[in-house]
Subunit: 412 residues, 4 copies
């Protein structure tokens, strides 16, 4: 959905409702579990996104606003140092209280206050809060994706391997048969990178600047599960020369032999002890439960290390984020968004002239700009309308629980 001032209340309602819809198929227990420090309980996501509006909008701009529960500021702050101390991230799964019901009451309380604010604010106040409300909605959309990836990880840790079902997350339609990769020639030269001024963007997408590119070829489609199975069958996880040093260390330390949710003969827990079954016999765990591997689907849930090793094996490489962005509108290019986030060979560094947003939002992006890789595109779990050509997602190179895949480029 598009979020803009005129329809701000409607956008607010839609985004807020979508979060609840995503949680609907989950039991109270499901919504309370945390399977690893990187992931958070559904309930926590529902409360944290609410806390964001309460703190950044209501608390700061509505005189006399009384928080729903003063203790929630401690419980549901994620990482904002400027907003005070907070509950330790690895312990979010211990919060059996407040209950799912109480969190929903918290959401209603804040939603009502937000509606009252948007309903009664004068133009001056509206001008002040609108950017914050809009930021809050995009923030909540980011957590909507995490609701799905985090519960998928939690379910992968359960030997019963339950399936998540939700009418709001439609199964990606069965992909057509993957065609051989077509290499689309890009001429390079000086290109414009970053946000060009229209519509909401995060601060890390700017400032727009010129970047000098060599020519290159980009694959018209993503790497498929069938492609990746061939890499495994060719000994991909046993050949150190294909891997970055840190990646090979992860392979050996963690015992990786396949993507985290690929299941062979032996059932692993938490994706840790997956065994390969032999070519063509893989099953893949996903939001629909355990399914036979679909060779034509984009491969997903790869770490950057796996993505880079695959590219090396394929005689190609990963695109830089600049190459990816410059090729966005190339005729014939497919699957640029809506399937999997695409690892780039770009570290998450600031653009020239980057300055964080003022105020609380300063901590939103800039302070994470070290030790992470940029991902571009968007996945099947990304809420409709959330992503765009200039969007810069980022995760550490070892992360495997996001819907992350590969598009190849090559020098020409």
């Amino acid at each position: 959905m598009s979020i803009a001032v005129p329809g701000l209340q409607q956008a607010y309602d839609e985004v807020r409702h979508y979060s609840l819809a995503l949680a609907a198929p989950l039991s109270a227990e499901d919504q309370s579990v945390q399977s690893m420090p990187d992931a958070s309980p559904t309930k926590w996501h529902l409360a944290h996104t609410t806390w964001f509006f309460e703190t950044v909008v209501l608390g700061a701009h509505v005189p006399g606003y009384r928080p729903f529960d003063e203790r929630y500021a401690y419980l549901f702050n994620s990482y904002y140092e400027a907003l005070g101390p907070r509950h330790a991230r690895p312990h979010r799964g211990l919060l059996t209280r407040p209950s799912s019901q109480e969190v929903r009451a918290y959401r209603r309380y804040v939603d009502e206050a937000m509606s009252a604010l948007l309903d009664t604010a004068d133009a001056e106040l509206l001008a002040r809060v609108e950017p914050l409300v809009t930021l809050g909605l995009h923030h909540e959309q980011q957590h909507q994706e995490l609701i799905l990836t985090d519960i998928l990880h939690a379910f992968s840790c359960n030997p019963l391997m339950p399936a998540y079902h939700c009418a709001h997350v439609e199964a990606v339609s069965k992909p057509k048969r993957a065609q051989p990769i077509e290499w689309l020639r890009q001429t390079g030269g000086i290109v414009g990178i970053g946000h060009d001024g229209n519509g909401f963007v995060f601060d890390n997408e700017g400032p727009r600047h010129e970047y000098l590119l060599r020519s290159y070829d980009i694959a018209h489609r993503l790497v498929t599960c069938g492609d990746y199975a061939a890499f495994i069958a060719d000994g991909g996880y046993a050949r150190p020369e294909l891997w970055l040093s840190d990646g090979w260390a992860a392979v050996q330390r963690e015992g990786w032999t396949a993507p985290i949710y690929w299941i062979g003969d032996e059932r692993g827990e938490c994706g840790e002890r997956v065994e390969r079954e032999g070519d063509g016999n893989w099953r893949v765990f996903g939001l629909s439960g355990l399914q036979a591997l679909d060779a034509d689907s984009p491969v997903s849930n790869l770490s950057f290390y796996e993505a880079a090793a695959y590219a090396e094996w394929a005689g190609a490489r990963l695109p830089t984020e600049f190459e990816w962005e410059a090729a966005f509108d190339t005729p014939g290019i497919e699957q640029m968004t809506g399937h999997v986030w695409q690892w780039t060979r770009s570290s998450y560094d600031p653009y020239p002239g980057f300055r964080p947003l003022p105020g609380v939002a300063a901590e939103y992006n800039g302070k994470f700009m070290v030790g992470q890789q940029v991902l571009r595109g968007g996945s099947s779990a990304t809420p409709p309308g959330h992503t765009r050509r200039t969007y810069r997602n980022f995760f550490p190179p070892a992360a495997r629980w996001q819907l992350t895949g590969v598009r190849l480029v090559r020098d020409n």
Copy 2:
């Protein structure tokens, strides 16, 4: 309650019902959480005790018995190597499925099969299963205590500090004012130790044997919170000469400055960062929530290290388990059961001539006989009728989440 053959069905019903009653005040989320590897979710306790009957009684002795769900054998085995592989203990909190409802259905399924068995078994079969059923009931009673101590720990990790309320766990009546310790003279000599043959006991309580004791004095009452507060006020946690070497290492490594559930000025999480507030101003977290310290109540939730350091400070010592047992019926002695488990200065070693039970039950006690200390007595969380004079409870010396306290002895 007493458990015996004639009333076996009634005993079964009562014990099984009591578990559910203990869980009743807890939400589905509460019943699913695991706050540390040593603790387990309520739901897991409810299922594991059921699995015990299903596996040891029904599966082994009812031809054609079909398990409720074959996958549960993996999920709910605790530590029985002879019964096959099992879900890793630290991951019990990840089992959002089966749900609390499904676990209750599992209990009903097994309860019905058990009733049918007890109803229809001939004398020969009954003679075979009766010891196993009885063992299973005592086993379930042990887990009833753990349901309470484990949820108390989980709640202590929640900054909201919720209280557990349950009509079945009556508040211990407000203790009378603690009197000065009266030292009860014990003459020593050769005493009989261990089970004497009547009624159910665990294998570790035998064989009964003679033991030679020196004379000693035993305190007529337990150490109180007021006593222990004086130890803290006297610098007890800062004086290495009072502590065993491993205890002092724990004090420094973990930052212990008070019992795990004593709260001073600064609220700690999971009992890790408790600060002392100054003498007389302590609050104590328990099943009734956070309460002002009651100086006359027995101090609880001490590790063996803390118990031993207190005894050293008090110019006394901890009793051996033999001294404790020999003094059980001394006139004037109080609080021997029903308040807190009492740490002894005895390592958990086998009695002379000890052999484990045959079959599956062999793993019940014997294999844990190293690295643990014996506790005697019983706590306010111990189910009625469960403990006795010869009962040998055991925990590692650093354990602080059980209801564990101190009775002093001294040489004379």
Copy 3:
């Protein structure tokens, strides 16, 4: 050697010289290495034992004594809380300075001061220092054994597998062919345990007290390498029913498949990755380097867990320390000292009425009385004259780097 007042200076010279003789075959590098936190460098042992005399004798009893280097009090205190802060144990291997030469100069400086003291002290002063000097000499003898066991561990971590050679540590003569175990009947009853008053003993050997024993049979000899190889060949390391729970956890966590210094096909480092080669083909690493397994030699370097599992497999059990001591003079019993320390089934608890020594020596034994198992006897690395019938050695149950083996007993 015997240590007594009349020959105190001579005893001092002999013990001090023996330490240097043990270090003589080692290079400066060898003397400086620390292979794990439990072990210490040779150079540290040489300095620490010197610090003991400097602090406990010279500093406390010689007016105007000036320490060799005031900073050594921090570097070479081991665990005496009462004597101030100290260098962290795991970092002893980082002390490339002071050099081996400087440590030897330190020893000479202290030895000269000690000689001057013993030469000039009047009877009153001599009466005060003699017990401390004697304690210091027995303390140094304990470290002499550690010099050997610690360097053996360090060398086992080196793929070059160097041999230690020292004329002062004579190879144990080739054992005669091991005879079948003869079971020596012990009648039990009330026996006297602990020190009886003559000669030096550590405080943990008293007070002497009576102990009531059942009758039992004790093996006339130690378990041999051949015996233990049969246990391995019979799947001893793969059968959980033979192991204590903590022991089985160690087997799985550490990947134990044989004693730490037994080497099969694959060379392991630090004893971590030893593979078995098949029956009869083991090599054993020791102070003489890597040697073919001698089936008649006592098995050594076992943890308590391995010792207990072996005894279970053999249909016998480990003796209590009381049983061991009571059988010491049994006609026909062999190998009670001088081969390997013998694990007992007794936790290291205080004797009835035990009180630590006064003063600094209070920290010598008592504070370690939890979480450890008693060993009796003495090994081929124990200095001549150091051990005795009542001697109580102790180590944690997982320790494998000491010369530790097994003698069996059985109920009768």
Copy 4:
């Protein structure tokens, strides 16, 4: 020194001799110690650089060459997967054998074989081996710097705080009084980056390519200790808003309050527990031992996190590696090499079109291109002639044991 074919033997002799000269002030113990997994013993550096020549040159190109000791291939391989298994990096300090003497004999043996090769090789063979010999010499120069930084770390862990003294490492002359920073205007535009074809370079310095820069100002000098002390005095280590998220996490987890080798009142070990003494009273540990802080010297031994926080505090930023390289010849710019390596705001990513060297050298640089930051310039420990304008050094952002500092830039 310059390394070229005509003078290859002379260059070989000079580089190899310089390594020994650096080791000369160190005792055998000093040369054997490893203070953390990231650092290596001097002796290991001396042997590993020798192994490089033996394996890459002699073993591969001299028919019938017999290695000095076949076991050294396992001991002294650093990270070359293609060259087989190797000794685990964290255990290098356990190698008391081979001794320092044996390592010197190893060096002589290889040096003689190298001389014979260079003396007798025909033009064809010389053409093949020359690039490998040259690579080996630059490789050894890199380890020469590590010999100094690693022993400095080891000495910092010793409470005696010994000083390294070596005539070959001349004290940097007392810096002149630092002038206020002069900002040198850079116009940006398309600049050439990377190696331009003359002389030896590492593969990561190419291919040369064009890069589009904005205009910026660069500081004419490095940040000094005096500058950095002002940052500390202004609460720099207590203000999360100045830090990257991972940096702030390191500050809190590690307790950083000053650079690793700055010492306040309390002496820390291994730089872990350094306390600040108050402004103007710092001492700094270095190769000359502990010295009063020199406010005019470039600050050194900063992590990237500290460098970035300082820049944020100073209202400036770190240069990208492209900005740094483009400004190299700016008139008036000082201290570009020879003082400290300068952290850049560039992740260590491959240049466009980068391909690793063929053969064994493929593992030299490329496989480390993730998770590291580029450093430019060179330090006082960098061997003469080793570094250059296009040189790309790299370390993880938390590394503090290298001679690493800061030059500021700012947007204009």
